[in-house]
């Protein structure tokens, strides 16, 4: 048998610790995800927090839960390597094999190093271009000097001609106000291509996708217990629930769990 135990699921709590919520499109993209980032949270546009925004405590709770879901190894468990392992052959190898650090330590180091030494100006130009240390989208109009191709380039780099690929729509389908010129992408300029290909890698932190655009559909809210729509808000922890039955279950299980 796998290790399973039946969870208590029927506690009855009398206190009306819930409230109905008018869902008028809470926009999560305006909330800083990093709960430590108080400065950003304090200076965000939109003034004081509205009814549907998350409290600092809720943000911490969400960040903790995501960290838990993202974890690769359980720090409480130590599984020794079985058998006799071969001897490290150099000092470097010995040091590296003995490291007990986790990925978060290496990523924190990377962030700290980038803060100490600001990276050179970005070489790639474009609306979404980022530099290694820049976690957020920022438009850049800088173009670097024409870079030299890397000696690590595998294969040949032939600045080929990208033929614009258009669908087979009849010409009458295309909005007559759009000139042919504007519907066919301009051909690639060699300098632009070189700049793109030689831009250095982003840091791990900077590589993350941006939040969805604020004009998009609002964040969906689900019942913390059963996964149905979360139409009611728990007053104690702010989690959403679908009804009274799930409210009881929520209070018996996860209410305030991540806070």
């Amino acid at each position: 048998m796998p290790h399973v135990e039946v969870l208590p699921n029927s506690a009855s709590v009398a206190a009306p610790g819930w409230t109905y919520v008018v869902d008028n499109g809470y926009d999560p993209s305006k909330i800083a995800i990093n709960p430590k980032d108080r400065k950003r949270a304090a200076t965000r546009p939109g003034g004081p927090r509205g009814e549907n925004e998350l409290s600092a405590r809720q943000q911490i709770a969400i960040a903790r839960r995501i960290a838990e879901l993202e974890r690769d190894n359980d720090p409480k468990q130590s599984i020794p390597v079985p058998g006799k392992s071969s001897v490290p052959k150099t000092q470097n190898a010995r040091r590296i094999i003995q490291y007990q650090r986790q990925i978060k330590h290496w990523l924190d180091d990377e962030i700290a190093q980038l803060q100490q030494a600001p990276p050179p100006p970005p070489r790639a130009a474009g609306p979404g271009a980022r530099t290694a240390a820049q976690p957020l989208r920022r438009a850049s109009t800088m173009t670097g000097p024409p870079p030299t191709p890397s000696e690590a380039t595998p294969g040949l780099v032939t600045p080929g001609i990208i033929t614009p690929v258009l669908g087979n729509r009849p010409a009458s389908d295309i909005d007559p106000l759009l000139s042919v010129d504007s519907s066919i992408p301009a051909p690639l300029r060699p300098a632009e291509l070189e700049a793109l290909l030689s831009a250095p890698p982003l840091s791990y932190a900077a590589s993350h996708a941006a939040p969805p655009p604020s004009g998009g559909p609002p964040q969906r809210q689900f019942c913390d217990n059963c996964g149905y729509w979360g139409k009611i808000k728990c007053l104690k922890c702010g989690a959403r629930i679908c009804g009274l039955e799930c409210k009881d279950a929520h209070e018996a299980t996860r209410c305030l769990k991540w806070a």
Binding site: I66, P185, G227
Partner: protein
Amino acid sequence: MPPKGWKKASAAAPAKTLVLDNGAYTLKAGLVAASANPSYDDCHVLPNCIARSVRDRRTYVSSELYQCRDFGELAFRRPVEKGFIVNWEAEKAIWEHELLDETAGEGLRCNPKDTNLLLMEKPNCPKELQKNCDEIVFEQFEFRAYYRCVGPILNAYHPPIPPSLSSLPQECLLIIDTSYSDTTILPLYSGQLIQAAVRRLTVGGKLLTNYLKELASLRHYNMMEETYLLNEIKEAVSFVAPSAQQYTTDLERTWKGRLGDKRAIDSSIVVDYVLPDYEGSIHGYARPHDPVQSRMRRGLQPLQGPREDVLPLGNERFAVPELLFRPTDIGIQEAGIPGAIMESLSVLPEAMKAAMLTNIVVVGGNSLIPGFIERLESELRPLVPTEYLLNVSKAEDPIKHNWLGAARFASQPELLKEVLVSKAEYDERGSTWLAKKFSWGER
């Protein structure tokens, strides 16, 4: 100045290259000879973990896990975290066990001193970890020659469709790699990664399994120690809803209703997963939902006959993989895969963006979830200018595809010799030089 003998060492490449896609969940490994014609069959998939069972008190290293008969409360130690090799003590033990020692599988065992290593890594690896890796490869394992690169890049060396006789890499190729650690968007131009346009989503197979584990533990049994089983369940029952509208419909159909207004659960979606007991059965299976059985679940087992534990799965089946398309559902402030693709492409010139959209290839295990490709296509289409062609395809074997691209690259001596660095060169010039040589566009 190159050291003496540099040309000679590079030119006389030995016959075999160990091509290694060192994933967090599995290693994809195989030896590739020069001018071979590698196929998926040449790729060995090996667990990249050391597992320990508190029940049979055994420790399983990598492929030994295939002999395990009781996955209950099995604990895992994984050397790769967030896609990068972090713990070399464990990774070294696994490499030795699977690739070098007499325990290595048939066709895999090699002597590093006369083998090249082509090691595939995830994009945006911290430089310190790359340096550790390079030092271990040459100083501990002493491979004859070595090349490390972002694995999915080498997908450009798959023959294009329609086929051409050219050995040149595909010109524009957009790889979506949705794997255990995360999901990455990688635009490739002529076999080069456009680094500034790489985008990453936190959501990968690991997060989906952990999320299902959390939900099942909250709603039914405490299964927090049953990672292996929950991964198995995820693979057996998950599907991606075809659209946000259908998601809403399915959510209604799987809702229990309110107190005093109970709804009949739509059993076209809800399934019962019969849990293995690890005595008679090693693996579980899904079957149509039986409400009577479900009521008996809580302690009311039949007095006679075998005990059976059943995990009913309703909205978990589609709410879990939905995170790939809506990370905000659990508060991850990232756009879903379609939005991240468009963000990546926004960095590129328009002509290149248009060409990338005609050649999107999805790799990685999450693309095996039924409905994934269909949903991706249908959510991408409205984001793409109407006059552009859109072509999304799934790799034939999404788990081995990165490996096969790399194997095809490694089988061409003229390509390989351009990038390999020999141990002699490393000994002469050191790891800082090597890191620069392997990194793109940096001197």
